[in-house]
Symmetry: C2
Subunit: 646 residues, 2 copies
């Protein structure tokens, strides 16, 4: 079969592939990762590349304009190689690895009053065994088990790899071995993790596997403290930016295995970085606790996730049994216990249960709303007495996907925008301080709020095209607002927010607000009675509450009721890594939570429709927003948005 | 580095190796296995090959005569390659694979009154689970476990590989899956082995891993019957013929892994042969039970065996925990439970405990002696009330090793010999009927008895060189008896039994008889009071009781007290595979047996010395032998051998 030579610029990587190879696959073979937020479905248009030569065929060009096609653009996921090709990858489509959370992470505190002797499931101890003789010729295992029984640990299991080292280790230790033992519950079964002639350090790993970001804490299990932390984009991003795209990708042949390998690559990267900072080799880590949403847990475990996205949305497992690192191919100590924390349902995973415990929900005495806005939006409402939870498929709009000039929060992203209320000229804050390349989530949110408050868009999200500003124009996708002219941007093209983008953002914020509404009405409480709003997730860290309320993403409550907690998921994993009590709290909370499936709920659809306006159909829910708008615009807002529908 | 070309005749295999490569290693690389009974120590002389050319260097030539060296013989295990070589491998040193036990095996019977519903630990059942819905959205694992709890199997563990198939399998089965569950004890923990849309056949494997022979029964667990059986030489033989040689080989770098791979190759061969006969693929086998001596168990488990041969002779484990086929790299169903039966000590393994149960020792009402003479000799004495056991390092002399013209029981082996009492001419029975190539165990035993009874050798094993026969002569190794002249043999060389050979055989039989003596005296019984002698092991099958008594290998009891049971080890494994009761009997018996370590016993050394004569120092122990000898020789035997010492 003839091979075709494909070169990729600017990396100058090259690969030879047979006729019919997908361009995205050719790039992957050449070691050049391309963003595929939609999972290679041709829907998102993010893998558009410039192709020189004629040796290719487009299967679909849904997201490309006539001009794009004339310029030579093609979607890598929808184009097959039929001859030698030269491919130019636009800068934004090359995945950049600059994660703000990693660079600016605050030192993590020990999250509880930690007493390892009563709380920790991992035990390190030295045994003094009698030497064998012709009179006492018990086998090595029997001798060891008798010693452990004397130390209060009867009948642990001895895995075969440990058994294989048992004889040499006991003799090397002159019958005084150091032993590592895992016992999840004080009177439950135990398992030998390791034994050696020298003591080992009690080291653990708390891991949060997020759809977008994977976060790792390297923890000293003697003191509980975090020795080092690291965060990195999940390498799976290149195969789909949200969980649904990943699930679709996983159903492709080899897709599940590939996604499993990608997240392991990310974890290996994190472990290498932790080693650079501490000198601790990954194989020294003796225990791991993992939180993550249900899809991430399935992909990590290698469980086919397809049923998660099909009614009635059934995962394979919410409460995985304890495993070992070797069976999970996690490159820490092969016999290290790995605890994947329990979740509630397909769309409320252990990132939420662990996060809720870290946020203090298990002890909340007042009505509390806990939100984790990541790629998905999960919500928990309740007190220590009762909890209801739901998930809103907000989609990745607030992470820059599905938006023409959206991007992640890396260098060149506009992270905040202000609009002048009479000239409608923008002022931008750009990550890194250079020229803007696109808008990240917080930038999109603040821009939308500004456009609304200054009257550039109406409550339905329509641009007021009759305003006197060159920034408002009709673009290829309809009405749009120009944030940066071609000579102001880093790309040489104008940066815009289109009507289509606004609609995507409205749907995202409406989904989350509708979740609040449904949960509150299900249990018969008023959102206004919520005493504290706890916001987890990486997105929450950069959220401007005022603007989030202005667009109706968050309920209109006094600002002092909002608390930003950052990554609650990894903090919950840290707690469970340290304490059997915390571990039990998470399981209890998972069992107690009432899950409400919104996709099957007519009330949700009504609430969603009502929330598609700025800030909401019913302005009485957002008195502070009405006040700001009326001050800026010098007129009263009509109480019902329906009346102003265009 | 320069490579040298080594060709091997008659196979015409060839290989290129660097300077310094052991010839045995070069042959192995070329795929030509060489016998190395002593484990490559240069002691046995069995790997002697003819080398043409000068590109080699002998490190040791202990077992070669000056003539051998002049003829170009070299020991493959002691010779390094230093140039291009042509190597001729004598026929006897090419391992032949003709195992009599496999060809003539009788149909194995179901060894007990088998009721799978109460006895079998493996359960196959069909579940009818409620279909999931938005109202009943339990995860797949919770749904399955609830169904199993309803069926009387609460809380089985679900291994990760099964969890990975769980979602697709449940849906393919339309929520009515067939489940395979293992539960070793009625109220103990259970484990999911498999689940599928269609029922699976209940198939099990009973395996006896012997030092010389590996035997497999493919068993239907519904009826208990043996669907097919197969036996094959243990491929480890090429790395040492007895357990001590294997242990030494295992301590070489990579030796343990290599021995593990070799026995797995043998098992794979057996599984292929069972598949040819039954059409059953190895992966359909859902459970395995394994017996074998302690060293074989260690090598199969990958446990370093070195301490087994060093005082105080401590194995890593006598009672291995249940394992799965995948962790043992056994090519049956990966999740199949694999039960390695419990042994007693380093030299009394589960071949003896399982064999003793199969022989009925657990219920014996009369004083019983159970012997398993294989490469080692293990002995059990007692009744259902009490049992003592020991192991005698008989060595492999009765298997043809350590004897100049010894060989295994394959084509060309003399299996029986008779000596004319006045001409001293031999009559031989040869396996296959052709010209003799050497002597196998039963041939050696019968020849020794004949030489003694006809007066060719005296009670001390000395040849009576003054007898009028050309068959008695002084050879390279001292006095010898010529069994076949060069023109009568298949090798073109004379076949002889030397004084050194006789001494080796005397040591072997004396070790076993001394074992009887010590066990009996330890518990204060007389060997003459033994009511039944049960003989297991492949060797036992071909043993001529009369001749075994004549040389003093077996005690002089009425012949009707002897019973040959063949391979009791695999029959015990078959019983344990079927029945939890039998499995428990074996464990109970292993726990009840009192092990006597002979190497630490002065009484053993005395008894051994006393038994180094034919049939014994004290002829009063062998009245029937005295009678035969006196009839043949026309004179009385002196009661104490010491008196006739030369």
């Amino acid at each position: 079969m003839a091979l075709h030579h494909v070169t990729l610029s600017p990396s100058l990587r090259a690969v030879d592939v047979p006729t019919g190879t997908l361009l995205a696959e050719a790039a992957a073979q050449a070691g050049q990762e391309l963003a595929q937020p939609c999972g290679g479905q041709g829907r998102c248009g993010r893998c558009a590349v410039l192709v020189e030569g004629s040796g290719f065929r487009r299967r679909s060009s849904l997201r490309l304009t006539a001009q794009d096609l004339a310029d030579g653009y093609a979607l890598a996921c929808q184009t097959v190689v039929e001859g030698d090709l030269s491919v130019i990858i636009p800068p934004q489509e090359q995945l950049r690895r600059v994660l703000v959370t990693d660079r600016v992470a605050a030192r993590a505190e020990v999250p509880l009053a930690y007493d390892p002797s009563t709380m920790q499931s991992l035990h390190l101890m030295k045994l003094a065994l009698p030497e064998p003789s012709l009179e006492d010729n018990r086998d090595d295992q029997a001798r060891l088990l008798a010693g452990l029984a004397d130390a209060g640990h009867p009948s642990p299991t001895v895995p075969l790899p440990v058994l294989r080292r048992l004889g040499p280790a006991l003799r090397q230790a002159a019958w005084q071995p150091w032993v590592v033992l895992e016992q999840a519950e004080p009177s439950g079964p135990s398992r030998l993790v390791d034994l050696a002639a020298a003591p080992q350090r009690p080291l653990g790993l708390a891991l949060d596997i997020g759809t977008t970001t994977v976060t790792a804490y390297l923890v000293h299990l003697g003191t509980g403290e975090v020795l080092a932390q690291a965060a990195e984009y999940n390498d799976q991003i290149s195969r789909g930016e949200d969980v649904v795209s990943r699930i679709i990708y996983a159903t492709k042949e080899g897709g599940l295995v590939e996604l499993g390998a990608l997240v392991r690559r990310t974890i290996s990267t994190l472990l290498e970085r932790l080693q650079l900072r501490t000198g601790i080799e990954p194989r020294e880590i003796l225990k791991a606790t993992i939180s993550g949403n249900t899809t991430m847990a399935h992909l990590f475990l290698g469980l086919p996730p397809a049923p998660i996205r099909l009614a009635p949305y059934i995962p394979t497992v919410n409460h995985p049994a304890p495993m070992t690192a070797s069976e999970l191919d996690l490159p820490i100590h092969p016999q290290a216990p790995v605890d994947i924390l329990p979740g509630v349902a397909s769309y409320v995973g252990s990132d939420i249960t662990a996060g809720a415990v870290a946020a203090g929900l298990a002890e909340a005495e007042v009505l509390t709303l806990f939100i984790d806005v990541g790629t998905n939006g999960e919500i928990v409402l309740g007190t220590r007495e009762w909890l209801v939870t739901c998930a809103c498929s907000a989609g990745p709009a607030f992470e820059g996907a599905g938006v023409v000039d959206g991007m992640r929060a890396t260098e060149g992203a506009i992270e905040e925008a202000w609009i002048h209320s009479s000239t409608f000229e923008p002022t931008l804050r750009v990550i890194g301080g250079g020229r803007p390349r696109g808008l990240c989530g917080s930038g999109l949110l603040s821009l939308l709020a500004e456009l609304f408050v200054t009257g550039v868009i109406d409550r339905g999200g329509h641009f007021k095209m009759d305003l006197d500003s060159p920034r408002l124009r009709l673009g290829q996708h309809g009405p749009e607002y120009v944030l940066a002219w071609p000579d102001e941007s880093a790309t040489g093209r104008a940066l815009v927010l289109t009507k289509v983008d606004v609609d995507n953002l409205l749907r995202a914020k409406a989904a989350i607000y509708a979740g609040f509404t449904v949960l509150a009405s299900r249990v018969g409480v008023d959102l206004a009675d919520v005493q504290q709003v706890l916001i987890g997730g990486a997105f929450g860290k950069y959220l401007n509450v005022e603007k989030a309320v202005q667009i109706g993403l968050l309920p209109d409550l006094p600002w002092d009721r909002f608390t930003f907690l950052g990554n609650t998921s990894v903090r919950g994993a840290h707690m469970a890594l340290l304490s059997r009590d915390s571990r039990r709290s998470i399981a209890d909370l998972a069992a107690r939570m009432t899950y409400i499936e919104l996709s099957a709920d007519n009330a949700f659809y009504e609430a969603f429709t009502a929330a598609l306006f700025l800030p909401h159909t019913d302005i009485r829910r957002f008195p502070s927003v009405a006040e700001v708008w009326e001050r800026e615009n010098g007129q009263r807002l009509s109480p019902q948005a329906a009346e102003i529908r265009s």
